[in-house]
Amino acid sequence: MMRHIRRFVRLNKSLVTYAALVCIGLIGLFIGLIPSAQKCLVLAKDMQSLNREIVQIQKKVNVLSSLDQLSLEKSAQVVIAAVPINKSIPTFLSTIESIALKNGLYISDMDIAGSTSLATGSGLRQTKQNENTISAEVVLQGELESVRSFLLECIQVLRLLRVKNLSLSALPRSTFMNVKLEVESFYLSLPVSIGKPLDPLETFSEKELATLEKIASYPIAYTFIPQSVSSSQPTVPVEVPTIPVITDPFAISEKTLIRVPIRNVTPSPVEILIPQPTATMSATGSPKPTVSVAPAASPSSSPIP
């Protein structure tokens, strides 16, 4: 068998050589070239997607750098004043009260509808954005012109209000009207997430800017200070101590005590603490503080001079 093969090789040496070269070529093609070309294609696709991402992020960076931090903070404060992050009942009541007082109406009755929690789960981790309303039935009394001004102003203040179910009736023997209405206000929790860095970010549209401008022109009717949205401007400038400085307010502090050694006392000298005279005491000419110690266990002890 081997002899036959050797003879075939010897007789067809060039054929065998070319066949071997074809084999090498095929191996190179299928093992080397095609996988490398596929890797190159993957690389090219990666580059394309990377390029798209870069364009997107670049656009986002341009948008972010074109925005002014201070104006954003102001706008954020305005929109939060319009729609607070929680029920914020004080601002709701304060808004209604201030508009009523400004227009010469007085509130004879106010009833916040339904049971309402004062806090909106501030300690809880939010999983979705809550959008809700808070409403109150209000009874006002005043002139018809004042009622008109009140209703006009109600929809042009921050925080935003919506008036529903209006009814008027005249008070007996008076020019005053009794106005019964339902005032609704809104709150919206903060966004749960800000998205991924690759998410696109557009500048404010004309419509959004118009809304912002309109809202910013409305006065803030309530007197409650809203929470700052900026981390650079803390709302509480002074640090409030969380640990009490004095545990017992009636105890004499260590600073006001002087240490007096007792030498002539047996069996062993001890130190006792006596109150140090304060400024008031010295001003009134109080004598040097003395103390007599007569321990029952030591008859030989003498009073301290």
């Binding site: 054929l15 070319y18 095929l26 190159c40 990377l50 670049q58 209703l151 006009l152």
Partner: protein
């Protein structure tokens, strides 16, 4: 014809099919090897170039991401504002101003005391007020008709007219044109 070959060993095959195969094998080997070598060269260069470009793009992306992260406060504020603006838009779309209804009523009743005021569907209103003479009542009706001509109100209806010793109680309903 005598052979020109002096070799006693037979070095070449005499089968023509093998000669044909050899010729094709040679051509195929040349083509295949040239494809593999040239293709390998091109792919290799492309791989190096693409790899370098991808690395530089990756670096640029990281730099941009760092810039985005440094502006995260701005981004969160933009999202907050945009989020609230859409809500504010929808709220403002549903806010109803009752002031025009009061203004229209004040125009109708002039300075006479309003007794009651209630609102119905589609801007319809019903009011009742008190006047003290027929002339005053006629004046009110004239005003109402004038307002209808000016398209300030539509469909005015006299709901009630009661005259007694205390005065005249008039009930009117109309639709306010906003």
């Amino acid at each position: 014809m005598a052979s020109q070959n002096i070799n006693l060993f037979q070095t070449k095959t005499l089968q023509p099919i093998l000669t044909l195969i050899e010729r094709y094998a040679r051509t195929t080997a040349i083509i295949l090897l040239s494809i593999v070598f040239s293709g390998g060269l091109i792919v290799g260069i492309a791989y190096i170039v693409f790899g370098q470009q991808r690395d530089s793009m990756e670096r640029k992306k990281q730099q941009l991401l760092t810039q985005v992260k440094s502006n995260v406060a701005k981004e969160s504020m933009v999202i907050l504002i945009r989020n609230r603006i859409s809500v504010i838009d929808s709220i403002m779309g549903t806010q109803i101003s009752y002031a025009p209804f009061i203004t229209t009523t004040m125009k109708v009743i002039q300075s006479f005391p309003l007794t009651s005021f209630s609102m119905g569907d589609k801007n319809s209103m019903t009011i009742s007020f008190k006047v003290f003479s027929i002339e005053e009542a006629m004046g009110i009706f004239t005003t109402v008709l004038d307002m209808e001509k000016r398209k300030e109100i539509t469909n005015p209806v006299l709901q009630s007219f009661t005259l007694n010793e205390k005065g005249i109680q008039i009930g009117l309903s109309y639709i306010v044109v906003l």
